[in-house]
């Protein structure tokens, strides 16, 4: 009976503490909740910003992808909205629109969750202009004594018929046989350049003794860009040994090697694209091109050897009919221990065509005669070698190896509702 009387006062006394503690906890809880909410808001905004940046990066990656595709012959279209490219958790696709006049609009859309970005880059085609040089060395060009460069126009007849002008070392045709380099140009005694000799912007052209340059020796205003060399990929047909007189039909081929036996000749019917690991022509052999229906492109990955008295030409001797591209790298890098390729253009041989070797030193031996043009990492013209630049190449090969450069970059408003609109950018808000 006494127990209720002793409990009741205890409950009454604990009420004040409970109230105070409850108030304290409530205040602290409210403040904590507010701070958590603020923090959550900040984190949410930060996360939103990260996703927005990720979508921008995805869109930029799409542009890079599309530009690479353009420079390798593609249209610039990359994936699609329905099937985008995955990119580090985000996605992108690119719509390309040909605007005409050598312009292509690339509209790249990047998406990360609900965040999207869109950029438009208008690309401008830059026509290949490397075939304005008779001889060009990216790093350097040297001409030994009595070497000679001039020009002629293959559409008007052969070089001999146009070489009616006299000079110290014989005759020459026209004076558009330009030589150049992004580095130094060195022209030794008695050499003749019937055209310009142009060094790189910060390099020099040296003309020794009585060597002559009919044109300008002013350094270039900007470096000459060389196009990328892209080797086609075909199924291997194994090695090809040429003996006697053989023919190769029009088509695409990949040989592990092409070796010419003594006094043999191979006639390739164009259009044809031939990829070879090692290409060797023994002395007194001939590579003919029947370009009635199209030219022949020869891609060599490693060794390229033209022994003395060999001939490479089309049956009409038109240099535009034969294009030789060398991936070969015969420049010894002291810091890298690699097997270098062998590239030989030996004496008394003749070649009617273009030679493009961005990784190699082309050393043209004495009395070698090249009708067409040569562009390489380094070019050395030995004594008494001859380069007759074909002026027709400037138009015949102007559309080849063109590159694309950005003309205009801008952001385009991104709305999920306009994702289905056509490419081109002009119609985007």
């Amino acid at each position: 009976m006494n127990q209720p009387n002793t409990i009741r006062p205890d409950r009454s006394e604990s009420g004040a503490s409970l109230f105070a503690v409850t108030m304290l906890v409530s205040v602290l809880a409210t403040l904590s909740l507010s701070m958590v909410m603020v923090n959550t808001s900040v984190v949410s905004e930060h996360e939103s910003g990260k996703r927005q940046v990720a979508s921008v990066l995805a869109a930029e990656s799409g542009v890079a992808d599309a530009v690479f595709a353009l420079n390798n012959g593609g249209t610039g279209d990359i994936a699609s909205m329905a099937n985008p490219v995955e990119h580090a958790g985000a996605q992108y696709w690119v719509d390309a629109t040909d605007l005409g006049g050598g312009l292509v609009a690339l509209v790249s859309t990047g998406i990360d969750a609900q965040h999207g970005s869109r950029v438009e880059v208008t690309m401008q085609e830059v026509k290949n202009n490397i075939w304005t040089w008779g001889a060009f060395g990216d790093e350097e060009l040297t001409m030994d004594s009595n070497s000679h460069v001039d020009s002629y126009d293959s559409t008007l007849g052969d070089w001999a018929s146009q070489a009616v002008n006299s000079s110290g070392n014989g005759t020459y045709a026209n004076q558009n046989g330009n030589v150049g380099s992004n580095g130094d140009v060195s022209i030794d005694q008695n050499s003749e350049v019937h055209g310009d000799a142009v060094s790189g912007p910060t390099a020099t052209t040296s003309v020794l003794g009585n060597a002559t340059v009919s044109g300008s020796t002013t350094p270039a205003g900007s470096p000459q860009a060389l196009p990328a060399l892209v080797i086609p990929s075909f199924p291997s047909s194994g090695p090809l040994s040429v003996s006697g007189s053989q023919t190769l039909a029009s088509g695409n081929y990949y040989f592990s090697s092409v070796t010419f036996g003594g006094n043999s000749e191979l006639t390739v019917t164009g259009p044809a694209t031939i990829v070879v690991d090692d290409y060797v022509m023994k002395s007194n052999t001939t590579f003919w091109v029947d370009a009635t229906n199209g030219p022949v492109e020869l891609y060599v990955i490693d060794d390229f050897i033209l022994n003395s008295n060999t001939l490479m030409a089309s049956t009409t001797y038109d240099p535009a009919d034969l294009e030789i591209n060398l991936e070969s790298d015969n420049v010894i890098n002291p810091t890298v221990n690699v097997q270098v390729s062998e590239v030989n253009f030996e004496s008394n041989a003749q070649l009617y065509g273009t030679v493009f070797a961005p990784n190699a030193t082309i050393d043209i031996d004495s009395n070698f005669e090249l009708f067409g043009a040569v562009v390489a990492r380094q070019v050395h013209l030995s004594s008494w070698s001859r380069v007759h630049f074909d002026e027709n190449l400037m138009t015949a090969k102007a559309d080849q190896n063109s590159t694309w450069q950005a003309l205009c970059w801008r952001t385009v408003a991104y709305h999920p509702s306009n994702m289905n609109q056509g490419a081109g950018g002009q119609n985007y808000p």
Binding site: A20, V27, A105, R410, G425
Partner: protein, 222 residues
């Protein structure tokens, strides 16, 4: 038994003066403690809020500024802020596409620091916000045209960047000398933008927050 029970209840129903005083003292102490804790918490909360708010405002403004500048052309920036002093006001045009084979440009726009309304460059807190000579970042579109638009991207911008003094020297070691609270500097094809916000907090302190971003100018060669 009954009388005894009533007597007991009566004796235990009241408090002595000492008990009341002690209880009141304890209650006062508890409430004081509670008040102090609450005050401290609220102060910390407000500081956190101000810092967070300043960071968010600066980030939003920088994002907008970077977006504005990303497509400007190199030939249509004035001044070109390549010097060590950078600039706090820049006029520019943005590429809007290609028309007839040539790049089309937007009307001239301007980004810049301006003193806040009611504030002046006089070393005095004219507007009474607790910060001297502070300003705003203003984006002006269609500059000088009939349809000119003026947008305040951010307020509470300090007159000078944190740690900087007008002495021709890079006092804060960020590569720019005597820069304002809004600093725009170009290094190569990259535009570096710094924004310093300053705000008086509830106590006697000042909250200073600086954020920086950079953007590559894609049309810098144009």
């Amino acid at each position: 038994m009954r009388a005894q029970r009533i007597h007991t209840a009566s004796r235990r129903g009241g408090f002595t003066l000492v008990e009341v005083i002690v209880a009141a003292a304890i209650l006062v102490l508890m409430m004081t403690g509670l008040g102090l804790i609450t005050n401290t918490s609220q102060s910390a909360y407000r500081s956190t809020m101000l810092v967070a708010s300043a960071d968010v405002r600066a980030r939003r403004a920088l994002t907008r500024i970077a977006s504005e500048l990303s497509s400007v052309g190199g030939s249509v920036i004035a001044p070109d802020p390549t010097s060590v002093f950078g600039t706090d006001t820049i006029q520019y045009q943005r590429a809007t596409g290609v028309v007839g084979g040539a790049v089309a440009w937007s009307p001239t726009a301007q980004l810049g620091f301006e003193y806040a309304p009611g504030e002046a460059n006089d070393g005095v807190d004219n507007d009474g916000d607790g910060v001297i000579d502070n300003g705003v970042v203003v984006l002006t579109l269609n500059l000088g045209m009939a349809n000119q638009q003026r947008v305040v991207l951010c307020n509470g911008v300090s007159e000078l960047a944190d740690g900087e003094v007008l002495n021709g020297v890079d006092d804060n070691g960020n590569g720019v000398a005597d820069e304002s609270g809004l600093s725009i500097q170009r290094v190569g094809d990259v535009m570096i933008i710094r924004l310093c916000l300053e705000q008086r907090d509830d106590g006697n302190g000042t909250i200073v927050r600086t954020q920086q971003t950079s953007v590559r100018l894609r049309n810098i060669d144009l």
